[in-house]
């Protein structure tokens, strides 16, 4: 009556989605690339800020805590808009990919900080005191007594956070980054088959998430399980 399709008249058509598959896979490649870059930068930010957050100096603790709480308690989408639309008005021009990368890394860094910090908090104080008593130099203490055990303890939590980073990257399509969701949007406006396109793309995301899970399990075994447990 009003032209609205009823359950009966719709026929699924995936052929136009298969035709667009190479483009979708290109988009998936960008998703993977951006996610991995974000994970590396985010983990770095996380380690630095977690050390700051647990340090003796209040001038290091407070800025790190503020950063973490502000980011974790506001939506990623708003942070992204603030960077992509806001920075140019301060004279900093960014193309969408760089804006997305900054937004994702800053966001991922805050979550990574909290996770790494909980790992550092879980280290028994005696370990630190023992290392100091044995006269370990500070960098060695940070590396072997604080960071390695902390990261080993929280690696599963970091891995799930990193998978959320990959899934969350779908949102950067809103600032016109041509990653998987961005490509899906273009394809869908051309072939008028949004449901089929997004169904296939969802399948690609699920596959990527599964692949990441397997990879992280492997990394965990390789880095943390084979070198004898403390």
């Amino acid at each position: 009556m009003d032209g609205r399709p009823t359950p009966m008249d719709y026929t699924f058509q995936f052929s136009s989605v298969w035709v667009a598959m190479p483009r979708l896979l290109d988009g998936a490649r960008l998703t993977i690339l951006l996610s991995i870059t974000t994970i590396v930068i985010g983990l770095f930010i996380g380690i630095v800020c977690a050390l700051a957050r647990t340090s003796g100096s209040r001038w290091l603790r407070w800025p790190a805590a503020t950063y973490v709480e502000v980011i974790r308690n506001s939506p990623f989408l708003v942070q992204l808009f603030l960077i992509y639309f806001g920075l140019p008005s301060l004279g900093i021009r960014l193309d969408p990919i760089h804006a997305a990368l900054i937004g994702m890394s800053v966001n991922c860094g805050a979550y990574a900080t909290e996770i790494v910090r909980s790992g550092i908090d879980a280290i028994p104080r005696g370990q630190l005191e023992a290392a100091r008593a044995l006269g370990f130099p500070v960098p060695a203490i940070v590396r072997h007594v604080i960071l390695f055990p902390a990261l080993r303890a929280v690696f599963p939590a970091l891995a799930s956070q990193f998978i959320l980073v990959m899934l969350g990257s779908a949102v950067i399509s809103t600032i016109s980054v041509e990653e998987l969701t961005g490509v899906a949007h273009s394809v869908e406006t051309e072939n008028f088959r949004p449901f089929e396109v997004y169904l296939v793309v969802t399948g690609i995301y699920v596959t990527l998430a599964f692949a990441l899970k397997v990879t992280f399990a492997g990394v965990d075994r390789f880095l943390f399980q084979t070198r004898g447990r403390a």
């Binding site: 502000v70 506001s74 939506p75 806001g86 008005s89 998978i163 990257s169 449901f195």
Partner: protein, 216 residues
Amino acid sequence: MIREFGLVEFLYLVSAMKWTLALSLLAFVCGGLLGLVVALLRVAPVAPLRWLAIAWIQTFQSTPLLMLLFLMFFGLALFGLSQDAFVSVTVALTCYASAYFGEIWRGAIQAVPQTQWQGSAALGFTFLEQMRHVILPQSVRIATPPTVGFMVQLIKNTSLASIIGFNELTYAAQYINNLTLKPILIYGTVGAMYFAVCFPLYLLSRRLEVKFRVDH
């Protein structure tokens, strides 16, 4: 004409926040109810029911929320069910929340000592009676802090509703930004508004966590 960001514009944002809160609350209630079912199925004594719950949780936890929103938005219309953005968003957020609540509450249920199960089984309770009278009352304490914590995620994620055109806080922010062209001010304000809701919840979840840990 470029407008200034004044009181009227600010009040417009505040009134849009109503929808963000309504959406969050609705997703919490519906997602919570469905999540409870998922959690119960996840620990049910029948294996196929457990598999069903695991599949549900895994599927929704490895799908971007944005994809769920698109699928519901286009899917519900396709099947002639609804063309309303509000309905699509609610359904998508409900599925999303149910998977996370299911997983959080499964953990809480399984954290109740085995002896409680055995004791109540020895008293001849059925599975649902065990849950209702013995297990759930105890797991509520364990489950409350992470549940409140997830509320923060839920509130933040309602912002994605703006992408399919539902007029909540983030959508209103884009609208006001188009009128005033002051992105830093507008998105900064809106970020602060989300923060004003999320941060107290986060503090509450931390306080509850400490409180319940001491009691153990």
